[in-house]
């Protein structure tokens, strides 16, 4: 939160602005690669033992994020008032508390800033994924460093600086999430 506080509550409606078609400026627009093939069907898990969020409009005001993922794009919110690009997507701007936000698509390429792998100690539902690589990825041309799974080559062959692309995927029960995939 910034030190500067608005003198009174915003009169903006408590809804997100309609999504726009804009992308992060000075980056090349994301190319829709289309979602990856659905993962194998996923066992239904109690909500409180499942990290994947509920994504539908009756559950979250950020449903647009998941709908855009289904279209193959990773997106986030940007404040219309002060221009702050957010991660994760927000329902109000943490910098100025404005609720007037636009949805913008993010670049679909980046480079690995740091990575590791989970070789033991995976949470429920992820035991069969072990070993899996995770990392922080600097998106090309956007001031964001996102965390996520890194698919493609095994962790033993990854390097810092590795080029990756973003990938949307169906987690196996109709919900969408994102991850990174090595290129080449």
């Amino acid at each position: 939160m910034s030190a500067e506080r608005p003198r009174r509550r915003s009169t903006a409606p408590a809804v997100m602005a309609e999504p726009t078609a804009s992308t992060v400026p000075e980056t090349r627009p994301a190319e829709p690669s289309g979602p990856a093939p659905a993962s194998k069907p996923r066992e239904k898990r109690p909500f409180l033992l499942d990290f994947f969020p509920l994504e539908t409009p009756d559950q979250t005001r950020l449903h647009r994020f998941y709908e855009r993922l289904r279209e193959g794009y990773l997106s986030t919110t940007r404040c219309r008032r002060d221009g702050t690009l957010h991660w994760p997507p927000r329902t109000a701007c943490p910098s100025c508390r404005s609720e007037e936000l636009d949805w913008v698509d993010l670049p679909d390429h980046g480079h690995v800033y740091a990575f590791s792998a989970v070789l033991a100690g995976a949470p429920l539902g992820m035991e069969d994924d072990v070993p899996f690589a995770v990392g922080l990825v600097d998106l090309d041309g956007a001031p964001l460093r996102l965390f996520g799974r890194i698919e493609g080559r095994p962790w033993t062959e990854l390097r810092i600086g590795e080029p990756v692309r973003t990938e949307a995927y169906d987690i196996g029960d109709g919900r969408m999430f994102y991850r990174f995939r090595t290129i080449g």
């Binding site: 590791s116 994924d129 996520g148």
Partner: protein, 394 residues
Amino acid sequence: MSGRSVAIVGGATIKFGVRAATWPELVQEAGVALTRAVPELRADDVDSLFVGAAEPERFAFQSHVAPLAAEQLGLKPHRILQRNELACASGQSAIRSAFAAIASGLSEVAVVVGVEKMILPSMAEANTAMGCAMDRPWDGPAGATAPPFFAMVAQRHMLEFGTTAEQLAAVSEKNHRFANTNPSAQFYEKTFSRDKLLRLPLIAPPLRLGDCSSMTDGAAAVVLTSEDHVREYTDTPAWVRGSGQYSDFHNLANAGSLTEWNGLTLASREALGRAGITVGDLDLAEVHDCFSISEIVEYEALGLCPRGEGGKFAADGRGDLGGDVVINPRGGLLGCGHPLGATGVAQAVEVYEQFAAAVPPARQVPDPEWALVHNLSGSANVHSVMVYQRGGAA
């Protein structure tokens, strides 16, 4: 510091480890241990109870734990009864709240109990609980827990400064060696040479098993009171002289530099400044070695050595007995285990006992006057620091 002076006047730690005991049973055990350690303590004099507990909802399927703990301890708090949750720093958070309550005059005598039950029949379920301390909807689905995050800290530290696996092992060897002097430590009877540590399996590369603190059941308790009552309990109080805290992100995307923990620098400056001392005045520090790399970055962020030289500081033994300042004489989280809510309280017990010269000679810091306790929580996104001074007038 403004307000009344406040001191820890006694405390106790129960056996940490894989315990055949439930959450409420661990609390009772801590109460028994506290009664033995502070026989002057009368339940009627305790007006407040602060319970440091990170995830009882997850690990024990129990919320509203403060009144449960009060009933288990035979206390009927009439000033403040609350549970403090700050993930891995829940215990220190409870101590800070007790300190603030007493300094302000709201409380006269407060008990702090820190407790965590972490060993579950299903390790995957326990790991799921640990994942909840991260950003659930955004980092959780990728499998974010503490080990891969701190592994990335280690990877970047190795890349940027040339830190080595041997230097990580030096931290772990020191803390396990201290733990061999501490019967309440989870690894009291397990020895770990540097060579052995370097052969343990990788958990989250480059971190090996011995670089990671473990899942642990445990509890600890302390008594705090004002300058008006300290002498009723002890001749060797640990006065709270400073306190500081800083937080600047939550989602892993917003961590910034992984190797520069500015939050700890700011929190420790605040705490040391309030105490009127500098880091060079410290005789010992209990810092949050949830991973070996954490202690190395903490040396740097505290200002014990320049940025990038934490690995050398460890390898040269400058945080060992006989070094610049003794770091983690209790055995650290690496040697004692890390029952989240209990850790910060057990660290405070160590400071009290070091000041009282009540620890085994093998880890007794010679004539200590100043001590610092640090806890980080989550992905090192919160840093909490307390500074204590031994005895003397209020």
